[in-house]
Amino acid sequence: MTLKSSYLAKWKENVRRRGWTFLLCAVALDILVPLICLMTMLNRQKDLLEFAVGTQEYLKRFELMKTSFESFVGFSGTDAILAVFFAVVFGLQGFSWLYKQQKMDLYMSVPVSKTKRFILIWLNGVFAYAVCYLIGQLLCYGVGAFFGLLEPYMLVQFFLNFGLQLLLFIANYQLVLLAVMLCGNTGCALLGTGVLFIYEWLIRYLLERYMNWFVSYCGRILEGFWVTPFVSWLKVRESNRMLWDTVGKQGSLAAILTMLGEEALFLLGFSLVVGALVYWLFRIRRTEAHGWAIAFPAIKPVLEVLLLIPFAMLVGLLGLELSGDSSVMLFVCALLAVLLGHGIIQLIYERDLRAVKKQKTALLFSLAVSCLLIALFRFDWIGYDSYVPKPEKVERVSVAMERDYTPFRRFDMDALLSMDLDEYILEHMSSEDPDTIAAVLEMANAWQRAGRPEDSTVWSTAWPLQLPGEKDGDNSLTAWWIARYELSGGRTVYRRFLVNPTVTPEAVLAVTRDDTWRRARYQIYDEQFANCLPSMRIRYHDGMLYTLYTGDKEEFYRAYLEDFAAYDLELIQNNLPCGVLDFYFGPEEDGQRECVLSFPVYECFTRTRALLSADGIANGLEDGLLPTEDVSEIRVRYRYDPEAEEDLLAVPQTQIANRNIEPTWLIASFDRPDQIAQILQSVYPDRLNTMLEDGLCGWRFERSVQVDEVKFSESGKEKRYATSGVTFREGRIPDFVLDALRESLQKELENSSAHE
């Protein structure tokens, strides 16, 4: 009883001392948040009542209202920001007594153990936040109940969200306490908190910028695992929320465990490790450290060095950017930053201007290391760019086009989340095939031999071979690739290089034929894809007509897999797809969530085409894009600009000399069946263009002469052709089209003469 009342009295004393912070927390979480929630719901309800109950619009608005309500009770960004804010407030205020001699005299002389005091203060901060947040959430749920917005899954959401939010608060609270224990006054603790919150980001950002600026780097520093809890939380928040929205609400245990696994365990581990460090620092902290800048004088120079180096590198980079890539400015700015930073830090440490002369060792060390690091990047002393591993050292290799964007792999079939394809391939390929390893090394070496060009323009001029596929607006033939070398000894190295398939055709061909590459890149090979087949819908389209495949899907899938084995660099460089297969899967009740993967059909895909034909689906481009009788008229247009460097119409200069001609659209229409037939043989549907792979094949299209409109005849209208556009293939524009455009220009010229 005595113990209990004694604890209560100490607890009350602590609450009294921290009363204003607890009150602030209660006002924010228990009054403001529920009030905003209530006002938002009232607004939504006003909106909702404009529609009759049960109508589609009413239901849609009701769903919107529910979504809006969920932003107050589940995985909200505002909640996280408030958690971090109160972690800072409680952390700084809870242990601020360490910074006052008067308070230290009292607290250190009374018979209360340090450990008990620490636990009491620590727990009180967590308790205050937890209670305030819990009450606030319950009030929000009360608002939800009042408006009839609650669903059974929200109970799980409540506990999940509350647990994660509390862990986020604790992890940040520990980080703040680390700064509090290291510092000796509130100002420095606040600065320290700021530094701890941004330090990792600053280091990663600097490395990323330096790597991007000075070497050819594949940008992986800002990705992956982050130690700073708020940043790591930010990184997983969106995916967790999507995961919850897509499958968590349906009660998927896997999704819930994923959320707990990825986020909660990290936050818990972080809290435990940093908490132990904080407690140790609290124990060894000297009483007389109150008022000092840093409570542990021995770490002052270490901290200075750790702050000065990134500061110098940051300012150096700024100097480099402002001066337009001047090495002198890079080093001069870094030098000035070290001197300035040293002065500021010493001023903060000692609060005495004369102190700038102190700790010269730290100053000189920081200066030397900063300059060394900058030079390492600037002059690539580490040989980052020139590094190509020796073939015998590479055990496995993964390779992907940077920002590879294809319709071949897009989704995590479990969670239906979209994914970065290059990331996926690099993680899952891991080929041990010596031919593939040699091919990747050859691609990397070809770039080295070409002098490491930075873009395709430089590459094409630096290389004797003129590329056939380079033209603005068309798909590009060169692309940045990222290789992931798994070396003997367990080391993994990432490198980025530009690849031109016309320079290293054999190497690229070997990669496109590699089984691991294909399995990583084409989702159609996944077992899960095959499992989804029964519920899938398969649609074929040739760019103009969309038809659902109604035959045996299993048989069709096997046939397509056999045909697809031929899909390699050779095929895609020499052939255009004649159609596309869309595989639809995922929840069907909501069209927005339906997922689709698309794969091309080529003329040589005989088994697939035979099954399509057997299902009554016309396929192949042998007879042109459309039957001529389905089209009544085709209109084309051409933007004529007398000052343009290239003129497709080749109008003689004498014809336009001394005439004031403005750039103008020339239009020509064709309704004769023979002309229509010829045009249909020369164009290619834009929808099929999406199947042409950037960076692998350089198909060229003539964008200057545009097919403005395709008018369908009565028979064509009955077939309900798609209205997506078509584009002329380069060099295939019929002469009569160009003649017609010239005539149109002639008329324009005559008209302009008449006006003059």
Partner: protein
């Protein structure tokens, strides 16, 4: 018993306390005197377990006091500028002290508050400096700890209050095992209350003695001898600490008991003599001068 063994503490490389060794016996009033910056507060804070000694030991009843709540339970420390919670009243402080000191005597606390005219419900922030010190002393007394460490606590008290506090101290010492330790730079303030004094200077202990011993063994004698020969003969029998001459009047500081000295002077041929008691101030002046220090500079600046 409180025992300091070779206590050493420095701040920013400057030694505040150097190898201080003092023993504070129980049921004594111990005065810790010294100039500003002599190390009184630092020594007291180390005894209270607030500061950790760099070397040496501060023992309370044979227990190291730093980070030891059992040792700390036996003492109450009143800092030179005592801290009270913001917006707290004496009643709030009583609640807190009751939670940390198991034997805190609430009834007596309110009785004392009443006697000293302090309102238990008034915010302490509205109290005068002297009232805050009174409150701190009362809380310290009611905590019922064996040792009460007071750092310059009597400085802000008026003479009446000081006297009242002294009588409470005396009563407490009679009633229970109570040992106040009072640090002050004012010797006059400690004179009529201390049993034992320790003098600190520049971080070290110059002297640590029982006041009664000092007073009994050191006397001031004013005298005029009948002749030069008689003067030489008598002074030769005395253990002189200090001699001052103003015309024919000699003022002597002499070691020895009062009766013994009276007998010596009664037997001598003197025109006038008087054996006077020494003030604490005078005792210190004499004792420290013997050790080669100019106490006027040390204590009175």
């Amino acid at each position: 018993m409180i025992e300091c063994r070779d206590l050493t503490k420095s701040f920013d490389g400057t030694a505040a306390v150097r190898q201080v060794s003092v023993t504070i016996r129980e049921n004594n009033v111990f005065g810790l005197v010294g100039t500003n910056g002599a190390g009184k507060s630092t020594t007291l804070r180390m005894i209270a377990g607030v500061l950790k000694p760099e070397s040496g030991l501060a023992l309370v009843d044979n227990m190291p006091v730093y980070d030891n709540m059992h040792a700390k339970a036996r003492l109450f420390f009143i800092a030179d500028d005592p801290y009270f919670f913001s917006n707290a009243t004496p009643r709030d402080m009583q609640r807190y002290y009751s939670s940390v000191y198991r034997e805190f005597d609430r009834e007596r606390f309110y009785l004392y508050l009443d006697q000293f005219g302090l309102d238990a419900r008034r915010k302490i922030s509205t109290f005068s400096k002297g009232m805050k010190k009174q409150l701190a002393i009362l809380a310290g007394l009611c905590a019922h700890t064996k040792y009460l460490l007071c750092d310059e606590t009597f400085d802000g008290l008026d003479p009446v209050m000081r006297q009242a506090v002294k009588s409470i101290f005396a009563r407490e010492m009679e009633e229970r095992n109570f040992t106040p330790v009072i640090a002050s730079h004012n010797l006059r303030e400690l004179e009529d209350i201390c049993d034992h004094v320790g003098l600190l200077h520049e971080g070290g202990v110059l002297l640590s003695r029982d006041l009664e011993d000092l007073k009994l063994n050191l006397q001031k004698v004013q005298c005029v001898f009948g002749s030069k020969q008689e003067e030489e003969k008598t002074l030769g029998q005395l253990n002189l600490v200090k001699t001052e001459r103003r015309g024919s009047l000699l003022t002597l500081t002499v070691r020895g008991g009062r009766e013994e000295l009276t007998a010596v002077f009664a037997a001598a041929d003197t025109l006038f003599y008087e054996v006077l008691p020494l003030s604490l101030e005078e005792i210190f002046i004499s004792e420290t001068e013997v050790r080669g220090y100019d106490i006027k500079k040390l204590v009175f600046g």
